[in-house]
Amino acid sequence: MTTALDDATELARRFAAGDERALAEIYGQWSSLVYSLAIRSLGDATDAEDVTQKVFVAAWQGRERFDPARAALSAWLVGITRHTIADTHQARTRERAITEQVSAITGDETAPAPEVDLADRLLIADEMARLDPLPRAVVRLAFFDDLTHLQIADRLQIPVGTVKSHIRRSLNKLRGRLEVSHGTH
């Protein structure tokens, strides 16, 4: 985990220093999160693609304003994503006002969701989806069915020690994913 955090810090430093390859790496690491946040909020793949493009263009152009000592790069990106999504919602509202003079649409949810919490949720869900089938089944039973490790062992017919070790290792993986996203150094 320390390694992941160190890597993230090193990457952030190269990015701030204007290394194009760092941008490519950052895109590789975080474009899925940016795109998923946009698609969740906007519900439209084309708009989400636009947002994703804008976020990375804005990040590169604004890289001098990014201070690796103050924030995690991913948190900074999520902040840009939140603003860009909000702008898109606003543009849509204006568009509707012009084109839909007679409209039955009421109560459209234009308020952006709290993206930071959503970002955490999406990251964790993503990490869970990447677990192997057995540890994934174990943690799902622990998280969502509230079973104890003894009940899980019984349910899945596997040794108690295996359940405990899957729980610990999986929980550490999930935590590591959140720490890379939040950690500053």
């Binding site: 390859r21 998923s36 109560g107 869970m128 990447r130 969502f144």
Partner: protein, 251 residues
């Protein structure tokens, strides 16, 4: 001073009871307490992530546009994260809910291929894991029921669903379905939102009836439609789109 076993700390973070020696140690050890707190906040995010899908990667053209707009080297490619998944070009609608229903502009929301059925994937991949509920200890109080009607591809199918709440507060969905499916196909029970913007797998139906626990955090007023689908055993945890029967829960 010997610290508490990390496996025990993880269980405590999940809410399992503490033994006396552990309590004694924790009262003295800030480091173990801190560890529990950190794990606990991870658990709380994870518990809120029920029904969320894995992240989706944007299509390759997005990077090409970024590269062009910023004038970066033409051969610069994004480095894939260590454990990346194959990207999909666009969100795949999980299920065509009602062909006759017009999509209204205001529900232009994403129909996410929610991998709530990571559990289903586990079953398919693992082959031996059974995800359904244990048989409820008591029959509980009936809180909702649904008549499950056939979809056009399954004209002779029909089924029923009831939801009851047991004395311990657990909610149990009981379904019955008279339709069999062919070899290499299983039947999966789902809860859907009315607009199909959310989808939760309850598990696989073996036989003509089955009982499934509803996770405590699921709001049945939102996930108010019971759906049973035919799922090919292809390892894809998302809904196949081939629903056999479906019906709204009525209190």
């Amino acid at each position: 001073m010997e610290h508490t076993d990390p496996e025990v700390l993880a269980l405590i973070a999940l809410g399992e009871p503490l033994t006396d020696p552990v309590v004694d140690h924790l009262s003295l050890c800030a480091s173990c307490r801190h560890e529990i707190e950190a794990l606990r906040s991870t658990v709380s995010v994870a518990r809120s992530a029920i029904g969320e899908a894995a992240l989706q990667a944007p299509p390759a053209r997005v990077w090409q546009s970024v590269r062009a707009e910023l004038g970066l080297a033409a051969d610069l490619e994004p480095a894939a994260p260590a454990s990346s998944e194959p990207s999909r070009d666009s969100p795949r609608p999980v299920v065509q809910l009602d062909v006759s229903r017009e999509r209204r502009a205001r529900i232009r929301r994403l129909i996410v291929p929610i991998a709530a059925s990571a559990a289903a994937a586990a079953i398919v991949a693992g082959g031996v894991l059974w995800w359904g509920a244990t048989a409820p200890r008591d029959t509980g109080q009936l809180i909702a029921s649904a008549q499950l009607d056939a979809l056009p591809d399954w004209p002779t199918a029909s089924g029923q669903a009831t939801v009851s709440e047991r004395a311990d507060g657990e909610r149990v969905v009981q379904v019955s379905l008279d339709t069999e499916v062919g070899d290499g196909v299983v039947r999966e029970v789902w809860l859907l939102t009315e607009n199909v913007d959310g989808l939760i797998s309850l598990g696989l139906l073996t036989g003509s009836t089955g009982e499934f626990l509803v996770p405590a955090s699921v709001d049945l007023s939102q996930f108010s439609v019971v759906d049973i689908s035919a799922e090919p055993l292809d390892g894809d945890p998302t809904h196949s789109g081939d629903s056999i029967v479906r019906g709204p829960l009525n209190a």
